[in-house]
């Protein structure tokens, strides 16, 4: 199990929602930009890597109790999305890296997807 903190530090991710990342463990990862696919593929305490940065990302993350969402390629959630994430306790992280790069780095940290 990898801690979300370790992921944030190693991948130099920027935290945009002020939600505590303490004590969050990541048990797996999932990457896709289609929300229904994320609904199907991401599980509790997974980290989800996506290009999407709008409000529904928070809804999906909160319904699935995800450990965090990594928004790639410099996309940034708007203030309303950030506010909702804070209300729902969803950790939103942003990075200029591509989804491919992020997934590669996550794999090196030992975060695996469903096989």
């Amino acid at each position: 199990m990898t801690s979300l903190k370790e992921i944030i530090e190693t991948l130099t991710l920027e935290t945009v929602s002020s939600v505590s990342t303490e004590g969050r463990s990541v048990v797996g990862g999932y990457a896709a930009d289609l929300l229904s696919c994320a609904m199907k593929g991401a599980k509790k305490d997974y980290v989800w890597v996506t290009l999407q940065s709008h409000l529904n990302v928070v809804a999906v993350a909160s319904l699935l109790n995800l450990a965090g969402v990594i928004i790639t390629e410099g996309n940034r959630p708007d203030p309303e999305t950030v506010a909702r994430a804070e209300k729902e306790g969803v950790v939103l992280l942003v990075t200029p890296k591509t989804t491919f790069t992020v997934v590669g780095e996550l794999t090196l940290l030992g975060v695996r997807g469903e096989s």
Partner: protein
Amino acid sequence: MSHVPKFTKIQELIYELPIERVMKKGVIRVSPETSMTELKEVLRVNRISGVPVLDGDQLVGVISIEDLIKALVEGDVGAPVRKRMTTRMITVRENESVVEAVKKFAQHKVGRLLVVNEQGQLTGILTGGDITRGLLEAISLDYHAEEISRYRAKHIFEDIVSDQTSLILRYKVKAKDFKGGGTASSKIKRALDRLGAVPEVIRRVAISVYEAEMNLIIHADQGGELIAETQPEVIRILAIDQGPGIPDVDQAMSPGFSTAPNWIRELGFGAGMGLMNIKKCADSMKLESTVGVGTRLEIVIYLRPESREEQNHDKEKNSGTS
């Protein structure tokens, strides 16, 4: 794994709780000119083992029962506190989190920390016991609020007696209201959590309701209604709209098929996976639609694994005899 969330909660609290929430305020203090004999009385009357020394508003040192004993041994009880106090003061800021105090306790091996504000003025005192008590109180407050809601909700079916009791939650879903997407599903998820449903079942309900809710938002001309009827053993979810209706239900059910326009797909919807996801999560689903009239989607999920098996067993029995 059930112990994990509580452990996490304590960790979170250590980082979130500010020191001022757990420290002792209204600190007993002495002045540098107080004599050691007077100090002995202060410690005895207040049943404490040490006090900060203040010169006016200025924190100048700490004096403890140990210093008093040494003074007694050396026959120096007439001396002013100023002469016997420790000027090495370990302070923490009142707005820092409790974890900073924990670190300082470990680092300096002291029994109490002096709490100061931004201006360096003494505002409180902190012992290990204060931290423990503060954390326990914070946990029990959090715990109680949710626990009471849970308790009330869990017993609703026992408290209210009828031949068949159901709890019906209705949500209006507005057309093209992407920002509101997930509102109804997260409320239903929370309701089930409080009713004491198992996490695996809550997950299946949350996914199905979310997909049904998004379908209403994306496709229904005038939005629609989500109705969740919960009974002790089962939840039945209805998503109803007044059109446009689905021309070919079988096609709509096939994976990857979607009629969502491009701008909606760009948001990440319209994967053509929604109904498939519902089908996978539901114990049974029924989709009926008439073009120009509307669509009615019914999802049934058993809340207890036993009742699901019973149902399947009944089905088998029925099919066996027919």
